[in-house]
């Protein structure tokens, strides 16, 4: 039996956890936990706002010592440790499935080739995503973001990546890699070894524009620039990732993945000689 919860990974924004209110407003009735690290200076405020049953604190240093940070900057205001700690927390809570959400989502919607519609039945939307996670054998399934739809429907409804909304199973643990660009590092590095990560573009979240909100990862990006962020993924997979200029509203460096060289293809079983 599936035992599911939504985790909101948050840091330094106890009065601005936008995702929490949106989940309830849009019909999610299951448990919500705020995942906060023990070095957060605003931790008391989280407890005051949300209560001790909702806020779960993890030991950031202990988690940092377990994972591959990919640099020696000793940055602590990063999300990778919360992502990795989520699996342990989920197991402790007796969950089978969980979703990792950022704290700044203001929109959850379905999307066809042309336009999106706000979902007012998130319970069902989460359940069908978990159904696909179960049958596909994927390590994680995610929803798309606004950026996935720039230029219209690409013809790819299921992408081989996962960002932001990580739907996970406790029994399919994986480790997020690197203190920055941890999502890209992980889905490319694990993906080239045959683990599956999917983004379904028929479902979408939207969040505050990158580097527009104070706190969280924004400070790291502004401090180090996006070159370090993007180049971290090159370090992990130099054969398929490079740094390129992204020409959106604000020009910035971004990772560019050569997908044909990044992850093995999924082929129909009938191609397998023994089953033909």
């Amino acid at each position: 039996m599936r035992n599911f919860a939504a985790f909101i990974l948050t840091h330094g924004r106890p009065d601005n956890v936008i995702t929490f209110g949106k989940l309830r407003a849009l019909g999610y009735s299951g448990p919500i936990y705020l995942i906060v690290d023990n070095e957060d200076a605003t931790i008391d405020r989280y407890f005051a706002n949300f209560g001790s049953k909702t806020v779960i604190v993890f030991d950031k240093k202990a988690m940092a010592d377990k994972c591959d940070e990919a640099n020696n900057f000793d940055d602590q205001n990063v999300v990778v440790h919360a992502r990795n700690a989520s699996f342990d927390i989920a197991e402790t809570l007796g969950l089978t499935h969980f979703v990792q959400l950022d704290d700044d989502y203001f929109l959850f919607m379905t999307r066809d080739d042309v336009r999106g519609r706000t979902i007012r039945n998130l319970d069902t939307a989460f359940a069908v995503t978990c159904d696909f996670l179960d049958v596909s054998g994927a390590a994680s399934v995610a929803w798309s973001q606004g950026g996935d739809h720039i230029g219209g429907f690409s013809g790819v409804r299921l992408k081989r990546k996962a960002m932001n909304t990580f739907f996970c199973r406790v029994d399919r643990r994986f480790w997020f890699l690197g203190t920055v660009n941890e999502d890209v590092n992980t889905y490319v590095c694990e993906g080239q070894r045959g683990r599956l990560f999917f983004t379904f573009t028929g479902l979408q979240i939207d969040q505050k524009e990158t580097q527009s909100q104070a706190g969280g990862l924004t400070d790291i990006y502004l401090q180090r620039g996006t070159y370090v962020k993007s180049f971290t993924s090159v370090l992990f997979c130099p054969s398929s990732v490079r740094v390129a200029m992204m020409t959106s509203k604000h020009r910035r460096l971004h990772h560019l993945i050569d997908w044909g060289a990044a992850v093995p293809c999924i082929v129909p079983e009938c191609v397998q000689k023994k089953s033909c």
Binding site: T118, V135, G155, L158, R160, S239, G260, A261, P268
Partner: protein, 127 residues
């Protein structure tokens, strides 16, 4: 909405629109086409010409393999034409992923249907 439209281009295998399942092509590529190790070769030449220790050379040579660029579509094409023994070894090395019992394909179609229903519910509410 085109969630479930069938593609016309595929000849041998058919997948749902937007599906991640790759349909191998009829052409069997030469095995030398499956990877590009030109960057690796440049690095190896520099390593071999250097005066670092033999142990260091071995380490650097292993690291240089990270720059080999695999063409996974051609690898899947090659897989489709390979002997059963070669196929098993390619599977073990995760050079292809097999969609056993069409679990991914069918799960994807079910997901599309469910989300289409959700979408149409919201459209109806707004009508």
């Amino acid at each position: 909405m085109t969630f479930l439209r069938r593609e016309d281009k595929q000849e041998k295998y058919t997948t749902a629109t937007g599906s991640p399942i790759y349909a191998p092509k009829d052409r069997n590529p030469h095995i030398l086409e499956l990877k590009d190790n030109s960057r690796q070769q440049v690095l190896l030449n520099e390593i071999n010409a250097s005066r670092v220790t033999q142990e260091e050379k071995l380490f650097l040579a292993a690291a240089a393999q990270r720059h080999t660029v695999f063409n996974y579509e051609l690898i899947a094409d090659y897989y489709a034409h390979a002997t059963p023994e070669m196929q098993r070894l390619m599977e073990a090395s995760a050079l292809v992923i097999i969609d056993i019992d069409q679990a991914i394909e069918r799960g994807y179609v079910r997901l599309c249907r469910a989300v289409r229903d959700l979408h149409m519910e919201e459209v109806a509410k707004d009508a």
